[in-house]
Every structure is written in C-alpha cells, then in structure tokens.
C-alpha cells in the first residue's frame, strides 16, 4: 500500500489572491475520484524539506504579502526547491511564484530583486497591466488533448525565457510572458510556471491530470509517467469551451479602459482589457 499523494501548498495564507485554492481543490478532488489517497500540507515560513512532497503549488499574493514571502522563499527554500526539482517533484508556480523561480525581477523603480535562479528566465515590471481572458496552445511535449488551455491573466510583469527554455504554450488570446515572443509561461521537466491564475486547473482538467500523473510518478519513484484512469469531464470541458468562446470573441477587439472616464485605479495603474498583441 503506497503512502498518500502529498501536495505542498506554499504560503497558503498569503499567496491565495486569485482563487488559487481552486487549483489545489481540483487536484485533490481529481485524485480522490480515482481512489487515490491525497493529503495537502501547508508550507509556511522557515526551513522546509520540499523533496518529501509529490507536488508543490504556489500562487500569487498582494504586493505587501508577496514581498514578505519572497524574503523567506529565497532565504529558506532555495536549495530545498532545487533538491525537489532534481528529485522529480511536480511544480505549479503561478504569477509571483513563477517570477521568483527565475534569475531576477526588476521592479518599476529599477530595483533588481534576486530570484531563486532555478530557471533561466528574467522578469521586469511593464508599463501597464494586462488583465483579461487568455487562450494558449500548450507545448506539444505535454501531449494535452485538446491542446488549448484557457485562463485569466492579471499582471504587470514581463518575463523573458532563456534560450534553452520552452514556454508552457503559444498565446492565442492575451498578453502572455511579454507580448512579443508569443509565449506564455514555462514548462521544464515536471515544472510549470504561468501567469494564468486562480481557476486555471478547474477549467483545464487535462492540465490538472498532467500534474497529477507526474506527481504520482514521483511518489512511486517511477521513471515513466503512467496514464490516469479517465473521469467524466463533461462539466469541466463545457466550461473550457465556454471560456474559449468568450475569449475568442474578444480577440482583436479594441482595448477598453477598465474603470472608464479617467477614474482612478486603486494603484494608479492603467487598466486595459483585453490586451491582444497578436490580432
């Protein structure tokens, strides 16, 4: 009898701004519906052994919380994270978590924050914030069926991947990593980084299952990732199709100011949607 599948949720109290808990709930339910025993453990500040987990998840947070968390992450989790990746732990890092895995982040004032340096990617603050529905076509290596992944982005950061890295997918609708090279997120081995937040996995059950299958391979110390038993995903795929339909209808439409008529956005940012650099 194998031990329960172990999911580590990094900083769940602070890094849960966009319904990120939905990703974890989706993984848990899809494991349970298949009779796979699963446990979720919160990983807070301080030193932690991360290779003990089969899957690590980190969401995004409010700026204030995020800066506090970043300090702890770089101080206490760097080598543990590196060890976990070498050990084959599956990772889903969203927004802030995604940026932090890279070499650096340059903020709006030009200050450079050092990341964990686990991935050859660099991020910086952009001039505006991209907010809107996103559709990407996932990297072929993931073998997703269908290949579309739908989500929502809300970020001011721009990320550039080093030459050896593949984006998670090619942007069909939305901004993505930087609006120029057409990539969104990153996939390297069993790690996925992305700007698509909150309800990413519920409407992309194929991607959720990719993560679950890789996590199971880690638990069972299996070199190969075995296929999972199929579930009835008609409700999930109806939502996937609907999101696809709504996003495609926005494709190429002129950007609309969010609060209208010069209204003050809370943080002085310009809110435009939907941004589409590839009409």
């Amino acid at each position: 009898m194998s031990r329960p599948l172990r999911i580590g949720h990094l900083y769940p109290d602070a890094m849960n701004i966009y319904g990120d808990v939905g990703n974890v709930r989706t993984l848990v339910q899809r494991a349970r519906w298949r009779g796979i025993d699963v446990e979720v453990l919160a990983i807070g500040p301080g030193p932690a052994e991360l290779a003990e987990y089969d899957l690590l998840f980190m969401g995004g947070g409010q700026d204030r919380d995020q800066s506090r968390i970043f300090g702890d992450f770089t101080e206490h989790k760097g080598s543990a994270m590196e060890h976990a990746l070498e050990d084959g732990v599956a990772v889903l890092a969203v927004c802030g978590g995604y940026q932090l895995l890279g070499e650096s982040y340059v903020d709006a004032d030009g200050h450079e924050l050092t990341g964990l340096g686990l991935l050859d990617l660099r991020s910086s603050a952009g001039h505006d914030r991209w907010i809107g529905n996103v559709v990407i076509e996932a990297d072929a290596s993931l073998q997703l069926q269908p290949r579309t992944v739908v989500g929502f982005e809300n970020h001011g950061g721009r990320t550039r991947l080093g030459a050896g890295l593949h984006p998670l997918g090619r942007v069909v609708v939305g901004g993505g990593n930087n609006g120029e090279d057409g990539g969104e997120g990153v996939v390297r081995g069993r790690l996925i980084g992305t700007y698509l937040h909150g309800s990413l996995l519920p409407k992309n059950p194929h991607l959720a299952d990719w993560l679950l299958a890789t996590a199971l391979a880690h638990r069972d110390a299996a070199g190969l990732v075995a296929a999972l038993s199929p579930l009835d995903d008609s409700v999930e795929m109806a939502a996937h199709s609907r999101a696809l339909e709504l996003a495609m209808a926005e494709r190429g439409r002129r950007a609309v100011p969010l609060r209208g008529r010069g209204a003050p956005a809370a943080d002085g940012r310009r809110g435009w949607l939907p941004y589409n650099p590839h009409p």
Binding site: Y18, Q62, G132, N154, H197, S199, R242, L246, A266
Partner: protein, 468 residues
C-alpha cells in the same frame, strides 16, 4: 449670492441630458446627466451640495452601501427631513452629480435639505474634497473585483487618505470590527466606532474569504476572540500594538427570527428592528443608526425611522415571478456570497437557488473569486438544495459546485435569464420561497425579466430626490 451662470448651464444641460436619455430609452439616466453637468462645470457637484443646509452624509465600504444609505435616508425622511439619495446605486462622482442635478431647480437651488450619498471606495477622496461631508460611514473593506479595483491594501490606503482630508467637525462612523477599517481611522478625531459585541451568530474561525489576518502595524497574525463574518470580529494583535477599539455603540444581542428580519439590542439601550436579514445586515443597521444619531436624531426616533425601511432593487427584494415567490439577494464578492448563502441556508432554509454569475466589467471580468466562496455550504446543507446555474459564466459555477461536492443531479445550467427564472419557478417545493443570488449585471438582467412580466418596476422609475 450672485447667480453662477456656469452652474446654471451645467444643471440645465444635465437635465436636458436626463430627458433625452429617458426618451431614447437609454436607461434611467442615472449617470449621463452627471457626466454632462460636470463637463460644463467641473465643480457642479460641490456647488450644488453647498446649497444643502443639512449637509452631506457619505456611505462607503465594499459591501452594504446601498442598503445602509437607504436605511439612513428612510430614517431621516420619517423624521421629516427632505433627503436626496442616489438610490439607483450609481455611486461614482457622475452618479452623485446626476442625483444632485435631478434635485436642483433650473437656477441650481436644491429642493432637498440634506443628501445621503453612497460612494465607491475609490471615489471617496474626490467626493470628500467636493462635498465636505458632515458624516462619513465606513462599513468594511473586503476583497472585491481585483481586476477592477486593484488590491485591497491599496484601496484601504486610499480610503485612509480620504478620511484624513475630512473637515474637522465631520463624524466618521466606522465598523471597527474590520481591522482594515480600524487601521484607516484609529487616530482620527471624529471617529465614532461601532461594532458587534453579540455572540449570537459567530463563525467557528476565520473563513477562507477573510483577508485582513495580519496586524496592520507589525504583520503578526491577529487573534480573534469573535469572528462575525469575513475578517470582521473582535481581535487583537498578540504583540499588543493593535487592538479593536471599544465601540461607542455596539450590538449586544442579535435576534434574527427570519431571512428578512432583524431585532438588534444596542449598548445604549435602544432596540432596532429592521426588515432586512442576516448578520451582514446587522452591521448595516448598526452603522445607519449611529449615522442618524450623529445627525442629532434621538434614539427612539432613529430606531423607529430605520424600522420603516423596505428592501429594494435586488437587495433582499421579494418578487413573485412565474408563479413563485422569489427573494433576490445580490452578492458581488466572496464575503458577500458567503453571507448571503449563510443567511438563505440558516435563516431561510432555502431549498432552491438560482445563482447567476456574469463577467462584465461591473461584475469583474475575472471569475476566479468563485473559488474563494464557501459553496461547500450547499453540499453540507441539510436541505440538499437544487441550484440553477445561470449567467454568462454559468459553466464556471457548475464546475465550482461540482468540486464543492454538490451532487450533479441537483445542478442545472441555464444561461438565458428568463429560462433560468422559469426553471427556478418549478424547482423544488412550489410553496417554498426560492432564492436568487446574482452578481450585479446578472441582477439587472434578471430584474429586466421581472420588469417585462410586470412583477417589478424599473429602478429609475422610483422617485429620485423627493421624499417618499
């Protein structure tokens, strides 16, 4: 006073725009006249408000603005005041100005003596600068539409800046059960702290939708002695640098005999009954009472006045549609949804729901917040309720309900508003009341169906700026 020609032109242009808007059936003209008037005279709102001898009350916060402003307005009117209120819920500066233009005569003189305006949190600073209010009511600061409003901390800081710009004699009626609210006004001279000291309806701990978990001063996790809803309750920082202030007026006992009734015992001895239900409305009633008291009305008359309020426009409004009694409970964000579902389930014993999720700009384009709502309640409920999932994001809701553990046999997806209402009308026991929980624009769509069928009047046909 010399006649201000610019203001006169602004008022006349605004009134003409209102007439045109109605004739063209472009809606109720709840903001367009304000747009036009402010284009002619950017200071029009401030100038008109200066003509109100009784001054201005501003009501702000994430949830409860419309209901609280309605409670205050009703209480003041029953005490003989001529009150202007932006009752349509248009709460940006343009909406406030449109209501003022409707109240003014052609010369820019106000018919009302006093204004009660609800105002969007992000517009509070401008509204304070223009209107120099006598009383500001700050209800709560909760997570809401991140894609539109930005982060909660930023909104809170902006509200704090607005409060520090208030004239020295202004009263700040603040719900100090919310740590974020307290942090914005703790040291301000006009603070009238209000809160709930009752143990009647407490949550076992901080719910997922709670945001202000850490001390605003030092970041240490706050300790909660009571959690009333979201992150509102009685709290203290264990380091001792931040404590919930003692309320000047507190609710000491909550009687909630039904989904649409409250009976509050207050610390000053008053008993306030109101035709709104749920713990979240206890905060609204308490704040309204304190605001009315701050305007000099005595406790008995304040309580009696609040008792005359009737819910309206999608906020606990009751309509008969397609042969079924339906109660509309507007909800816009995780905390609001949690409380509405809690009220419908625990006080209303509801067995049939229509939940409508739209993703327009006014609702928030991003629906990831559905995952922050405690829909698990519907799976736990002993009534095993049936749900019609509606709105442009009905499918997202259906997924959320599936993962919450709600039996799929109990969920129907219906994106068309009229068909969704018809479906609800025949769902569950036809003699029981059905509950409609819509986001803002979904509420407008569903209510339009009700208007077409004659069950409800259009909100703009309600009188604006005249006492009822």
């Amino acid at each position: 006073m010399s006649p201000d020609l610019r203001l006169r032109s602004a008022v006349l242009a605004g009134k003409a725009a209102a007439t045109a808007s109605r004739m063209l059936r472009r809606g109720g003209g709840t903001t367009i006249p304000g747009d036009v008037a402010l284009a002619v005279d950017p200071r029009a709102l401030g100038k008109l408000a200066a003509g109100l001898p009784g001054g201005v009350v501003l009501v702000t916060g994430t949830n409860g603005k419309t209901t609280t402003a309605g409670l205050i307005t009703t209480a003041l009117r029953s005490n003989g005041e001529q009150v202007l209120n932006n009752s349509s819920g248009a709460n940006l500066l343009f909406g406030l100005c449109a209501a003022a233009v409707a109240d003014a005569d052609g010369a820019g003189r106000m018919r009302s003596r006093l204004a009660v305006f609800e105002v969007d949190e992000l517009w509070l600073e401008q509204a304070v600068a223009e209107l120099r209010p006598r009383v500001v009511v700050l209800l709560n600061l909760l997570r809401d539409q991140l894609d539109r409003s930005g982060e909660l901390e930023t909104t809170a800081a902006q509200v704090g800046r607005a409060l520090r710009r208030l004239p020295p004699h202004a009263a700040i009626v603040a719900n100090v059960d919310d740590p974020l609210v307290t942090a914005q006004c703790l040291d301000l001279p006009g603070l009238v702290p209000v809160g709930i000291d009752a143990d009647d309806f407490l949550l076992p701990g901080l719910p997922h939708a709670a945001d202000a978990r850490a001390c605003p001063r030092c970041g240490t996790a706050l300790l909660f002695e009571r959690v009333v809803l979201a992150h509102c309750g009685t709290y203290a920082c264990p380091t001792g640098d931040f404590v919930r202030p003692q309320p000047a007026t507190a609710v000491t006992a909550i009687g909630a005999p039904a989904i649409d009734a409250l009976r509050l015992q207050l610390s000053d001895g008053a008993v306030v009954s109101a035709a709104v239900g749920g713990v979240y409305n206890a905060y609204n009633v308490l704040a309204a009472y304190a605001a009315v008291r701050a305007l000099g009305i005595d406790p008995t008359r304040a309580a009696a006045g609040i008792g005359g309020f009737r819910p309206r426009f999608g906020r606990q409004e009751r309509l008969r549609l397609f042969g079924r009694e339906m109660r509309f409970l507007l909800a816009k964000n995780p905390a609001g949804f949690d409380e509405v579902l809690r009220t419908a389930d625990e006080l209303g014993d509801a067995a049939a729901y229509l939940i409508a999720i739209n993703d327009r700009i006014a609702d928030g384009r991003d629906v990831s917040w559905l995952w922050d709502v405690d829909f698990e309640r519907l799976a736990r409920s002993r009534r095993r309720p049936k749900v019609v999932a509606a709105g442009s994001r009905a499918h997202d809701l259906a997924v959320r309900l599936k993962y919450a553990g709600v039996d799929q046999q109990r969920v129907t997806v219906e994106t068309d508003p009229e068909r969704a209402l018809r479906r609800l009308a025949t769902t569950g026991d036809p003699a029981s009341e059905a509950v409609v929980v819509p986001t803002y624009t979904a509420m407008l769509e569903l209510r339009r169906v009700a208007e077409r069928s004659g069950a409800a009047s259009a909100f703009w046909s309600e009188p604006v700026g005249t006492p009822s």
